[in-house]
Symmetry: C2
Subunit: 168 residues, 2 copies
Amino acid sequence: MTKTVTKAVEQGRAERRRALRIGELSKLSGVGIEALRFYEKSGLLDRPARTEGGYRLYAEETLDRLAFIRRAQVLGFSLAEIKQIIAERREGGSPCAHVREIVRGRLKELDERMAEMRRYRRELAGALAEWDAAGDAEGHICGLIEGTEIEHAPARERGIAARRKVKR
Amino acid sequence: MTKTVTKAVEQGRAERRRALRIGELSKLSGVGIEALRFYEKSGLLDRPARTEGGYRLYAEETLDRLAFIRRAQVLGFSLAEIKQIIAERREGGSPCAHVREIVRGRLKELDERMAEMRRYRRELAGALAEWDAAGDAEGHICGLIEGTEIEHAPARERGIAARRKVKR
DNA sequence: CTTGACTCTGTAGTCACGTACAGGGTTTAT
DNA sequence: ATAAACCCTGTACGTGACTACAGAGTCAAG
């Protein structure tokens, strides 16, 4: 164990200031401990060094990696995509072409989705106004909804895993 | 069994043209069989009549109900909300006040979300343009992502279960 | 009366992204 | 040397809206 500690210290001096244990990394990065382990299991984080006792020892670079992951997530990339990007990078290629492709697709999706949302907003607001004016009639569940045209709901709505629940 | 069949036929003549079996209802409504059973279990569809053998026999009104559900879904209501609306209606009250409330909330959410999406779009498109101009540098995974400001991602992103995966 | 299409119940699995234990072992400060 | 604080693995749970399946029973046509 002294050996490992020494190694960690050497690293701390020579290569990096210090190795982080999972709790420190969690605090510094804002990513929960469980999530860190989950990322490791999912291949988003490399398996870190360990102490003799089995504790994970992260290099400080991991903070950069995590920042990358968070940013990419905020940009709407799924963990699977992020993983792929990282893997491409590791294989020496520049993943940016791929990233660019994804981004272009995302932009297109986004535009479609925003158009749809505008339509939807119009519908909702229109229905609301109408209802305000007319009051509720009998014999149906709610005219507000029943009166809404549906005109064959757009087929999409898949693949925009984007921007869900990236906390903080 | 003759009794039930007779009842079904009476219904077919007197009240409604015919009772639908689950497969027919599924085809006519476009809602999968399993989903229909799931809706029943979730309280979105009333328990239908049954043949002696236990087959579900749906009144044609069920099509209206399903259309209602689909429309509400397209409008961004969750199944839980839809269920509540239907329940309120059954209890004699007009759910429209409640619906209106939900709709108002939805509109607000929607506006926020659209604003966020516009921001996001700008970020993405900006990053893309920048990348196109600058080419890729070394030493990082992808400047496209790494260069993106993150400025503390918006806290929201919850409660807009809206418009996900309403198929067809 | 038999065949094949249909339907039944109940349980389990899917997706994405984690969170929450339980039941241990390790490190560190005193 | 001991207690507090930390960490380990593995599994199960949570969401929302379904989908899949197994194994059994029912219905309509020929």
